[in-house]
Symmetry: D2
């Protein structure tokens, strides 16, 4: 039985990848992180997304990650799989690999590298849905693919059963509110997840069904506490947890030697190494590791957050 026949909601961390110093996959560290997340009672896992090196992995790495995840998770919670490829035929190939290796749903961006307007984006999602029996989530991440997914298109595809939901990493909270309002008015055809780390509370106010915060790799318990408070209508706790997590997210601002993915995911890996979960903070080529000074600065933030002594 597919776990997604149950309505998905809650905290779904985008799992970061563990690598040895030589760049190869570090299975033990990766499994340790998965178990830690499951222990924290997160509600699902999102692998091979942007934080999960979906744009970096080779085909064999992709396969290994899929199989190890399925092996560790063993049906304990749903696994969403990012299929980050430039255009439709390549995405469909990745979707089929995911389908054959334990995915409960796939998460797909707009086509990128070559752009062509919203009609092509819509056709892209339709073709992918037609090629798989898995639920398809739209991944709205304009900073990576240079296209924002329109609310009306998303809801139309939700109503037609093409899309099961949206992972919103657009940073456009106005559009997210409109999307949530329109989705509600349409009978909630889409499950809506925010990719925020720092204003998850605002997304919950807007009616999000859950969150996919990269920072949950570092402190999954806090995001689960925040979710539970949201379910209980205890907004002051939702807000207080968020304020604490916003301070913790400053780990991603300590890097000055690198920007973007290398700073954000790089800081998560450093934190996991400092916390004893990862053996190494090695990044995939061509991304450098953070410097010792940056690691020290991250340690200070972790100590301030009470995660490290």
């Amino acid at each position: 039985m597919n776990k997604l026949t149950r309505r998905l909601s809650g905290v779904i961390p985008p799992v970061v990848i563990a690598r040895h110093e030589d760049g190869t996959l570090d299975s033990a560290s990766y499994r340790r992180n998965l178990e830690r997340l499951i222990d924290a009672k997160v509600h699902g896992l999102f692998i091979l997304g942007s934080s999960g090196e979906g744009a970096f992995v080779t085909d064999s790495e992709r396969l290994q990650i899929l199989r190890e995840t399925a092996d560790v998770v063993a049906g304990r919670l749903p696994v969403l799989v990012g299929c980050i490829e430039t255009q439709t035929a390549k995405v469909i190939e990745a979707v089929k690999v995911a389908e054959d290796n334990g995915a409960d749903a796939v998460v797909v961006t707009a086509p990128f590298y070559a752009l062509g307007g919203e009609a092509q984006v819509e056709q892209h999602f339709r073709l992918i849905h037609a090629a798989t029996s898995l639920p398809v989530y739209a991944y709205d991440i304009p900073v990576c693919v240079q296209a924002k997914l329109g609310a009306d298109m998303l809801i139309r595809l939700g109503q037609e059963g093409v899309l099961a939901g949206v992972k919103d990493s657009s940073g456009d909270d106005v559009e997210f509110r409109f999307l949530a309002q329109k989705n509600e008015a349409a009978g909630h055809p889409l499950l809506l997840f925010t990719g925020h780390e720092v204003v998850v509370d605002g997304a919950y106010l807007s009616g999000a069904d859950g969150s996919v915060p990269g920072l949950a790799n570092v402190d999954p318990d806090a995001y689960v506490r925040q979710w539970d408070a949201y379910q209980a209508g205890d907004w002051e706790t939702v807000r207080a947890e968020q304020n604490r997590l916003a301070d913790l997210m400053l780990i991603a601002s300590q890097a000055t030697s690198v920007t973007g993915f290398g700073a954000g995911v790089g800081s998560f890996k450093v934190a996991l190494r400092l916390l004893g979960v990862f053996e190494s903070a090695t990044m995939p080529d061509p991304v450098p590791q953070l410097t010792p000074e940056e690691v020290d600065a991250i340690r200070v933030v972790l100590v301030a957050a009470g995660l490290l002594e």
Copy 2:
């Protein structure tokens, strides 16, 4: 006594400008709107900002708006004045006119048209502060000026007394949360106002001192109710008012003949005309009025919101 010696907070509508069909200022309509806002117990007024046609007015129009506002308000609540000019010397000229005509504070963007990096932006604010005795608010509106104001710079200028606060229209809610966190840690040197209409609730969760929503021209009472609920810690009401206002904000999505300012402020003017506050919805050159079909669509939204029968 300057009203801003009291700590400013709450709902501060950016007042839209009334024009006759021939484009000249419509004093009676403008005054009617001011009185309506004051009756609704808003906490301040922001004139000559982006919604207030600060980039459109001639010198004589600017003067007339300043004087009429001062005349109507008569000290009943603080008046913040936008000084929207490209570079430092021109801004300072506008600031002096504001200072001489009843302004309680000025609101100033980064320099634009010619760009030069953050050091120049900081110097710009320092020179403006040095040229006036009024509190200076930084207006963060990258969509208009192509520069985002950095949190560290803003707080440094707050601590030095150069800036009194920030009007955030960046749409970057992650940075707003970080700004609010850092501002709090620094002893709250800056008053922080969000320019959102649709996720004001999220900004309040982040710790905003108030809001400057253009939509408050249309429904000031709802934003005041939302503020009062925020002060009372009643988050469900904050959220419910926001959901209703998000639906009302769809008036700005009814325009297809025009985009940007013409659609947003244009829809506010149409609503004010339909509500009987404005005589006309005339826009400043070169912006067209909305079409009759668009006006009808706005009417439907107003009726659904219970503002019109």
Copy 3:
């Protein structure tokens, strides 16, 4: 008689502004530069554009620059005047001041700060044309105003007599070629000037009627030699002059302390000071002067170009 009843063509430097150390206008230096340009036999002058601090000057500075230019030029060559203001009514006020103070034509950008799409841009140009008897040139500078002027609109406005020409600072040489081709097919209603410094030769190949290179403040003779070679069909000389000027343009790459306007126009002012034309390289607020190290690096480039010993 308006000099622009003759068909304008050739090299039209955008004249940089001279300021004393205290920031006030330096009349003697400015006049010295004008005479130097006229001696070099440039074909027109463009004042108060982007390089000419059109976005920085106060009203009184604008008036002073207009009057001094008219006084020095005394009809010896046409003077085009930039009217850099955000929206229509403000531009028209600047146009009238130009018209009353010796302008032979005005140069006007798309409206900026508040954006609204091409129909508004077209209406903007129409309203400005209706308000003046001077020829109106469209100034295509998307980096400053966030809008690219479309070729079809420009040619339509040229055919209707609304626009006399285009100053193209878009950097989009593909669109410039299409514009030139379409303009030719339409009977050459528009005079087309490139704002390039470094690929003026390519613009001449595309059929430009002339150039407006900021670097002509530093070496006007070379641009005039290049123009003469173009008129003679001597493309190898056109190209050789361009290669030499491309090397000279590296003065604008020596700044690391500042970017954009401050680096480009800043380097022109430094060169004019080193060449003995300007008393000071002072920039308008909030732009800093270049550092002594940067000045030294510019000196090296000038020596290499044979302009300094």
Copy 4:
């Protein structure tokens, strides 16, 4: 012997892909186009780049295209192969497939989807060079990958033997001129090719070693004539051929139903079908074919250019 031990120069069309109506590769049409290009005496071929559907092909399609190209070309001219993948490890896999299947050089963009600054881009090129014995060309195409390759980095990598050349599709002709000047000053370590269709003449003035114009699929003879005139120093012919080709390039402006890749490459495929080279103008998913009205408009342009009766 690798054909690229000879210094590469001249016209190197980016070969478009032929597909049957059902989307599968159309081998006969593709081979017909290759033979037509070789007959026209182009100087090399660039396959699997942006126009060559490098971002669309599955692994098996990639292999088939490589093998058919090698089979048809049979060493008659050099074949450059685009390896369009998001990040280093994936690019290297594509490079090895190219290396094993007849490539004479590979063409590689900056990493995309996840961005990280110039140091990562440089490391990316270094790692790819280390992984192959083939010459590596940098593909500068910021519109697709959101990063512009800096001239100083490119020349440094050229001097170290990491890069053999650059295919410039940046549209930034100022930077291309600076790159050409600096490359010349450094002893011409890089071969520089422009991706322009419409201002190839300007790129030749700047010193380009050749061109990679998509439009050469439609009219290879004209680009070869233009190249020969460039070699002979006959600039008036260079320019006249360019003007004619600029008019022909209007085939890419006839599409209104689609933008970007679908309009540009779509118009090339339609032209090839109308010229009898391709059986169908089918585009890869999710890109639609042009409409019958757009096909008619393209036919008119082809007739005007004398390519069709």
